[in-house]
């Protein structure tokens, strides 16, 4: 089968690539677009280091033939920061030492972002469920869970005070930080 042209809404911008049937979303991101945040850990769906958001949902990009997601919105860790200003989840990972070697971090942050977009006030249990597909060999997970809970709190504080990103504003003197999801409609918790 010949290669085909695939269009992705990649971190908010429309991008095209020519893809073979065997090209995964992960290799498109890394090899074609140079977005090397998502990592190839296992290529078996088991480690989560390749996690991105696909139409807003966390997804392992190593198991997706990119031609099957033509027209979809894909968000990667590179889309979170605004220039050199980290978003609140990223900043919380720094503040709480939730990253060591960093290999798991982009996937971990995308899983956490997916959770916070759906559930602004997660419990500890919600966080562990959200990151259960993301393996970290360094941190022991505790700092990661703490960082995600803390990011949730700072988002809620920011939303309550009508600001957009309290952590970033504290650091940058209130320069009108963007926060894409603080005011988004909330879908509530998954049925339990």
């Amino acid at each position: 089968m010949p290669s085909t042209i695939v269009t992705l809404k990649l971190n908010g911008t429309e991008r095209e690539l020519i893809a073979r049937p065997s090209t995964t979303l992960l290799s498109a991101l890394r090899d074609t677009f140079g977005l090397t945040g998502a990592k190839r850990g296992c290529a078996q769906g088991g480690c989560g280091s390749c996690t991105v958001l696909l139409d807003g949902r966390p997804a392992v990009s190593c198991l997706i033939p990119v031609v099957t997601v033509d027209g979809c919105a894909v968000e990667t860790v590179e889309g979170l920061a605004d220039g050199d200003r980290l978003d609140d989840v990223q900043q919380a990972f720094v503040d709480h030492f939730a990253t060591q070697c960093g290999f798991c971090t982009p996937g971990m942050i995308m899983s956490a972002t997916a959770l916070l977009n759906r559930e602004p006030a997660p419990t500890r249990q919600d966080v562990t469920e959200a990151i259960c597909g993301n393996v970290c060999r360094c941190t022991g997970y505790e700092p990661i869970v703490t960082a995600v809970l803390s990011a949730a709190e700072s988002r809620r504080d920011g939303a309550a005070e009508g600001r957009h990103d309290s952590a970033a504003e504290r650091r940058h003197d209130g320069a009108g930080e963007r926060h894409r999801d603080a005011a988004a409609p909330l879908s509530g918790k998954a049925a339990g």
Partner: protein
């Protein structure tokens, strides 16, 4: 390696594409793991992503799931709360976004936890074959498989009455771990005695197992620890070794997990 990926826009077009030797691709969370394996086979696939097979319909107590409905879709639907424990026991959120209901019917053990639940609910399938659309009991398809070139389009079952559905999965970790033993059951208890019961076991054989022997022991009997222990010895199981557990261990702990599934203790 994937040598072709077709993206038909209807079930009929998907079925037509399968006639040339391609296989259906649901979420790919099983097939792509095989593709990504260095030694993975060359495969031509027909993606169901845009074939109009995704959706959940609840009409009275009849539930119809499109074959390409994702596990995340099930998780999000409050009408299917009784399946939530099962669905959330499967893999992780970034896998469930992709994984489909029909795909779960055809994965090798110890996977197939949703299939175990659907089998306990006596689900039936709409299957598109060369002679057109027909209905098949899931039980038949689990036992015999589906001929090449055929496509599951829908899965239908009767919602269990409140409190009559049980799902219990024993795994090494609480989250994101393959089954050691899975027990799925639909069971009614009247005046302390078991009435109707359908019991399905995962992890205890190369295919999901309908525990007909255990059902016979349970039917009409009081739901006590003694009866459940007797039921656990009433079927021929053929457990296997894998990375999660040995065959010996699976056989050893099955009675414990049957008890936990049925008695909660």
């Amino acid at each position: 390696m994937l040598i072709s990926v077709e993206m038909p826009d209807s079930a009929e077009a998907a079925h037509a594409s399968l006639q040339a030797g391609a296989v259906p691709l649901g979420g790919g969370t099983h097939l792509l793991t095989r593709m990504n394996d260095e030694a993975g086979p060359d495969l031509r696939v027909v993606s169901l992503r845009k074939a109009g097979l995704r959706g959940i319909d609840v009409d009275g107590d009849t539930v119809t799931l499109g074959a390409a409905t994702t596990l995340a879709d099930l998780e999000d639907d409050p009408r299917l709360g009784y399946l939530a424990g099962c669905v959330r026991s499967i893999a992780s959120p970034p896998v469930r976004t992709l994984a489909t209901v029909a795909g779960n019917l055809f994965v090798p053990q110890p996977y197939g936890d949703l299939a175990a639940a659907l089998l306990a609910l006596d689900a039936e399938l709409d299957v598109l074959g060369t002679a057109g659309l027909r209905r098949e009991r899931l039980e038949r398809v689990v036992a015999d498989g589906l001929p090449e070139g055929e496509l599951v389009t829908r899965i239908r079952f009767t919602a269990p009455a409140p409190g009559t559905f049980r799902f219990h999965k024993a795994s090494r970790r609480r989250l994101n771990s393959g089954s050691i033993v899975t027990v799925a059951a639909r069971l009614t208890v009247e005046d302390g005695l078991v009435g109707d019961v359908r019991l399905v076991l995962g992890g205890l054989s190369r295919r999901l197992l309908r525990a007909a022997g255990a059902e016979r022991v349970l039917r009409g009997a009081p739901l006590t620890a003694e009866v459940v222990a007797e039921a656990a010895g009433a079927d021929v199981i053929e457990p296997f070794d894998d990375a999660y557990a040995s065959a010996w261990y699976r056989a050893r702990v099955y009675p414990v997990h049957l008890r936990r599934a049925l008695l909660g203790a």
